[in-house]
């Protein structure tokens, strides 16, 4: 057992004999893993969005400016009970102004317009589309919403759902080829580093063979080295991804999107680390065997 731990330590120590080579390999693995992780995060978030909006369509209803607060209160209270409606969000002109100011982020101050907001009262009505004849149903819903008292305009994007579905379809189709491509790049980088390490240590390995070292004794530290590079590269990539996520988390959390970007689930993060460690080991194995 002590030999086992000694060889693990040996594998890691050996890598630091050529620190520049190690740094460049880790950088390459980190960047490739970062790309892969970012792609996975995109797919994950698209999946979340399609999951939450699957089959739904959102109608934006704008009222005329002369509508009174009592009239609005009465109409808005009846919206949720309409057929097919799953969610309703309403905005008074001042609330709409607040959302608008938020969307400009911190640089624009619209406080001075409070009480004199030029924006119309608005409702975002999310409906579940029936399986068949969804577009026909949506057109009927527009007519019903337009028929409500003092409604000025009703809009909806009938392509919204189709577009999202198409995006997810496309990314899912590209997922395996892109992932495979990135893994091959990682394998080549790690394999090449191990190969260079073997070349640099050719004499030493020959001596080890001649003094009776078993194949496992010689190869195990090299495999550990490959795994270590994969682990370190993947961990750094996840750190970078977390930084990226921190920066873009609320980028789309503005009207009308209201999308908060989620970080990769824990299981995906662990999978990235595990897969890269395995790729590191396998590519080292191939380099050693060749």
């Amino acid at each position: 057992m002590s030999v086992f731990f000694h060889l693990i330590g040996q594998g890691v120590r050996d890598l630091f004999r050529a620190p520049w080579s190690l740094c460049m390999t880790i950088a390459a693995i980190t960047l490739v893993s970062f790309l892969g992780g970012a792609f996975l995060m995109l797919v994950h978030n698209l999946d979340l969005q399609i999951g939450s909006r699957q089959g739904n369509v959102q109608f934006q209803v704008y009222w005329k400016s002369d509508v009174t607060a009592e009239e609005l209160k009465e109409v808005w209270s009846g919206l949720s009970s309409m057929e097919g409606v799953v969610n309703v969000r309403t905005y008074t002109p001042d609330q709409a102004l607040g959302v608008l100011a938020e969307s400009f982020q911190k640089n624009v101050d619209l406080e001075w317009m409070k009480g004199r907001s030029p924006l119309p009262p608005t409702a975002l009505v999310e409906c579940e589309l029936p399986q068949d004849e969804g577009k026909k149903w949506a057109a009927g819903m527009v007519k019903r919403l337009e028929g409500l008292p003092k409604v000025d305009k009703v809009t909806f994007n009938p392509l919204q759902v189709d577009l999202l579905t198409s995006w997810v379809g496309l990314t899912k189709m590209a997922f395996w080829p892109v992932t495979g491509f990135l893994l091959v790049v990682v394998a080549l980088v790690v394999g090449n580093t191990i190969k260079l390490a073997l070349l640099a240590r050719r004499d030493e390995l020959e001596i080890l063979r001649f003094v009776g070292a078993s194949r496992a004794y010689i190869q195990f530290p090299l495999l550990v080295g490959g795994a270590f590079q994969g682990l370190l590269g993947a961990s750094l990539a996840l750190g970078l991804l977390k930084l990226l996520h921190h920066g873009i988390e609320d980028m789309f959390n503005v009207p009308p999107l209201w999308i908060t970007i989620s970080f990769l689930p824990q299981v995906h993060s662990l999978a990235i680390v595990a897969i890269l460690a395995v790729v590191g080991v396998l590519s080292s194995l191939v380099a050693i065997r060749n």
């Binding site: 030999v3 004499d203 030493e204 020959e206 001596i207 080890l208 063979r209 001649f210 003094v211 009776g212 070292a213 078993s214 194949r215 004794y217």
Partner: protein, 226 residues
Amino acid sequence: MISISKLSYSFGRQLALKDINFCMKQGEFVFLCGPSGAGKTTFMRLLHGALPVQRGKADVAGYDLNTLPESRKHLLRRDVSVVFQDFKILTKQTVFANVALPLKVRGIGQHIIEKRVRAVLRSLHLDKKAGAPCEELSGGEQQRVAVARAVVVKPKLLLADEPTGNLDHELSMRMMDIFQQFHKFGTSIMIATHNREIMARMADARIVTLEDGVMREGCALGGGQS
């Protein structure tokens, strides 16, 4: 210890060893002599499993080299130690680390390693250099490190390829004394050399000659017949 029958080896079209038949008993001391390029190093490398058997049969220290897979050659090398002509030591590492290496790869405990390495270094007058990196040693000292590394594991068979090639007369004689000591403890020893003086010192050793890849008993360099 060694049983060779009709062994031939060629590098491309160049035949290095021709139909060699050779036997060596356990505990024997053999000098393998012959001029440079006669095939001595090739023969030793074959015995150590560094070259594959192309034709003929070879059995060394109980291992059939015709069937021994690459993955099990380390077992042969644990019973057969070699002192190489070019030493093959880790020059960046210390004398102690070099001599301890074969024990470490066998998984022997640090306490035993410490004891055995110190003892061998003392017998080869290297104990004061134990902590010195090998690159700081003279050629003769490096050669003694190579010998120390070979004998520290108490091998069944010790192969030495020109072990006195880089040593002056006095050190050569001292080196032979060391080989004799190990021989007395039962290690079979084969030394490839063309140094007649050291062959003369071991009057009861067997001498075989390799010339143009052909082996025969006795010395063609003018030394005594065994």
